[in-house]
């Protein structure tokens, strides 16, 4: 199968089921968000805000809208997810990558019924693998990144998978509780929900996890500091190794 890859936002995007021009369009979507929101790019709007050269209230509408979205999620997660870094800088990277995936996905929908986009481990898919079987996403062991410990078979409407964790260099999670979960994978109907809640779980504790999974609208596989795998009821069957499973509900 043809796979297009490109580097963006400090990671790599892999796209299956799209031709080169669709992949190029997707790349431009990511570049646009990166240019706006990257705190590693001193010329981005967010960097200018961080430096104090621009007030958030004077920022372009789309930036203020993304900030508002992040604040909504802060409220919904009881503060476990937040765009406010401990040093006071507004950091929207927790939603921006997901928004880029979402928008790129909308473009891919124009040209294809079956595609999968993986941006550094956050996955959004449409249709089926080779038009036949569900797209399958392997969840890696946080201690051994080459080992798959669970497989998510994506079936509509659950088409998004996001994982947050501390195992890779560059991940930043501002924890407001003691470290409970080193990695959390969330399967949801949309990628922003999956991404934000995965971050919220790693930033939070067991009570946050229970609260987040209460309404059954997402599936979760989380690894705690002792190596125990926590699985929401539907996610239990995703686990396929000898990892200890704690169905703590």
């Amino acid at each position: 199968m043809s796979v297009a890859t490109f580097e963006t936002m400090g990671t790599v995007v892999s796209i299956r089921g799209a031709g080169p021009s669709a992949a190029a369009k997707a790349r431009r979507v990511f570049a646009g968000y990166d240019h706006r929101y990257s705190l590693y790019d001193p010329s981005s709007v967010l960097s200018r805000i961080a430096r104090g050269d621009l007030r958030l209230t004077d920022a372009p509408q789309d930036v203020r809208d993304v900030y508002a979205l992040a604040l909504e999620w802060r409220d919904r997660t009881g503060g476990a997810f937040t765009p406010h870094r401990p040093d006071g800088v507004v950091d929207l990277s927790g939603v921006v990558k997901a928004l880029a995936i979402r928008d790129a996905g909308a473009l891919l929908d124009d040209g294809s019924q079956d595609w999968l986009l993986n941006a550094g481990g956050d996955v959004l898919a449409r249709g089926r693998h080779r038009g036949v079987a569900p797209w399958s996403v392997g969840v890696v062991d946080p201690a051994r990144r080459e080992v798959v410990v669970g497989v998510v078979a994506l079936k509509e409407p659950r088409r998004a998978v996001a994982t947050s964790g501390t195992a890779e260099r560059g991940e930043h999670v501002w924890r407001r509780a003691g470290l409970t979960f080193v990695q959390a994978t969330v399967v949801a109907d949309d990628i922003v929900t999956a991404d934000v809640l995965a971050t919220a779980i790693v930033a939070g504790d067991a009570d946050d996890l229970r609260q987040i999974t209460t309404d059954g609208s997402i599936d979760v596989l989380a690894f705690d500091v002792d190596g125990v795998v926590w699985a929401s009821p539907r996610a239990e069957r995703m686990v396929q190794s000898s990892a200890t499973v704690n169905p703590a509900w």
């Binding site: 043809s2 890859t5 963006t8 399958s136 497989v151």
Partner: protein, 173 residues
Amino acid sequence: MRARVVAGGIVSSAAILVIGWQIGAQPELTASPQQATTSDGSSSGSGSAGTSTGGSGTTGGSSTGSPSGGTGTSAGGSGSVKDGTFAGQTAQTQYGPVQVQITVSGGKLIDVAALQLTNDGGRSVQISQQAAPVLRQEALQAQSAKVQAVSGATYTSEGYVTSLQSALDQAGL
């Protein structure tokens, strides 16, 4: 014995050598030419994620705002996976240069081997028997799960190069 104990820097968590591919570049071949994976269309040298030296999370200069080039496609064609043995980029480790080789057959990743290049006329020799089987088994575990993508903590561009996702992408699985 676990690979980490035997081979130290080669299989440290930062440099798991399941693969060592450079994005957008033509992989070196050890199989006959018609079994090559080709990079269709727009690949260019600037897509070299594998050689990124930026700090964690740094966005590469070549990717911000540049609309052209740097997008690689691999395992081209209308959907079939090419069989054969493919060798990737050489990675420098504390044990010397190591190159990773994958074998695809019948659309499946059936072997992964880490080759340690010697200075002896460039002959490739497999690194210790104790290290290689672990790599093979662990990469194959992913294949037996038949996944097309892996999800873990976000890999950086540099991390991608040694990730399972990169192996899956290059093999067109």
